[in-house]
């Protein structure tokens, strides 16, 4: 599914964000990416978002070298990945319904299908009846649930979550991790960057630990 092959990323002279990083994630796996600040987790995610490209090495996602994706193909690549961020990255000037519906709108999905699919998703995250509420009025946990619902609304084969529990209390953090686990059990490949040792330990999943841009599994 994902294969980092001798990847280097050098941001400034002599500062290697990634230093000959190699690892792979199989289809259907649940993997934690851990490590101290500056270890290279964000760089890995930026490369996987295709926000950036490696200076050396290859990154294969579903057997395609994403560094060589044409700029016009990048949006289509991103639609196959569900992104979840620590700070939710919701659009605060539109309703919960509109936030979750956005990926479907991008793909010109029929309005009736959007209506049904989004309402089902809202029901699953327990926000039924609050479809028209702006994200301002939600708790941190609810916001992250909306972000997760948006990330999976297109049924992507791969979910990347960057510190998804970083702004949440223990109960909400655990709920989010449970939802990610359920998605994984349904066949979705999940990669989570996390500092939270307790959650990483309790989940009992494979861990890729990064230190100074290298993988230490």
């Amino acid at each position: 599914m994902i294969k980092f092959n001798h990847v280097y990323k050098i941001y400034e002279k002599d500062i290697k964000a990634l230093d000959d990083l190699s690892f792979s994630v199989e289809k259907g796996e649940f993997v934690f990416l851990t490590g101290p600040s500056g270890a290279g987790k964000t760089t890995v995610f930026n490369l996987l978002y295709r926000e950036d490209i490696p200076d050396m090495g290859t990154i294969l996602v579903e057997n395609s070298d994403i560094a060589h994706l044409a700029r016009s193909r990048v949006p289509y690549y991103r639609r196959r990945i569900g992104f979840v961020f620590q700070d939710f990255k919701l659009l605060f000037d539109r309703s919960i319904f509109d936030n979750i519906a956005l990926p479907l709108v991008l793909t010109s999905t029929a309005p009736e299908f959007i209506y049904k699919t989004v309402n089902d998703a809202i029901k699953r995250i327990g926000l039924e009846g609050r479809e028209d509420v702006d994200p301002w009025h939600l708790s941190g946990g609810e916001k992250q649930k909306v972000a997760l619902a948006r990330a999976v609304i297109l049924n992507p084969p791969f979910i990347m979550a960057d510190e998804p529990t970083g702004n949440l209390d223990e109960e909400n953090a655990w709920q989010i991790m449970t939802m990610l686990d359920e998605l994984n059990r349904a066949g979705t490949t999940v990669m989570v960057a996390s500092h939270n040792r307790d959650i990483v330990t309790r989940m009992g999943k494979r861990v890729i630990r990064l230190e100074r841009g290298k993988a230490v599994e």
Partner: protein, 292 residues
Amino acid sequence: MRWLKEVFLNFKRTDFMSLVSVGTIALAILALGGYYLINQTLNYIITKVEQKVEVVVFLHDGFDPQKAQQMVSDAKQIDGVDDVMFVSKADAYNNFIKDPDMHDIMKSFDGNPLPDSITVKLRDYTKETLAGVVKFFNAREGVEDIQYGGAEIENLIKIVSAIKLIVGIAGIIFAVAALLVVSNIIRLTVYARRQDIYIFRMIGASESFIRVPFIIEGIIHGFLGGFIGWGLLYTIVNVLINEIRKQTGMDFSGFYLFTPDYFNVRFMLSSIAAGSGLGLFGALFSQGRFFK
């Protein structure tokens, strides 16, 4: 529909800046429309004045009428000449005394003081045509004097050209200013929504999905600005026409530029099109930094 929703959200977020953008386009359209009206009016006046330009060639007293007729026939061959007429001294005298003011003056002379003359009407008023006619008659026997309003016309054209230049420069300055203001306001809108743009990108929005609302926003600013600019110009022109009518009794409402068919329909549509064009180009110019 989706794009209109995005445009509406942009308007909501940047209501004051949107008003500034619409207002600037309205002023630019007012200036450009004013320039167009002034330019057309001046061209109309020049054409009318030019059409009245005649070259009058006075002949020596007693010049052979047959030679004069020959001169008339030859002059008709000159490029740009519309008509050439021989006016005998008797015809000239009869014309003069028809004018009550001239009647007494002419009667004070012993006999007819007027010479035979040839009147040349020009088809196209140009310096070259005029010079050709003057050169032709200067080289002929029997010509005493050649008169034409050339110097006055040249002065008028110079003044009109200067006015057109000044108004034109003002129009261009307003248009460029409008373009910059619209461009910068849309750039600010883009800046204000940079986080949203980032989110759109992350969830797989195409560039057109992100950019088109900003372009539509520019066009809507331009559409509204163009309409308001036309409305201002319409009001100003009507106030001026009424004032001139009151002060001088002259009625310009029938002038072709101010007829309803032209000023209310064609001019309005052109103003809206020009405003929308300004908005569109302003939006396209703004699509730089934040979209890289």
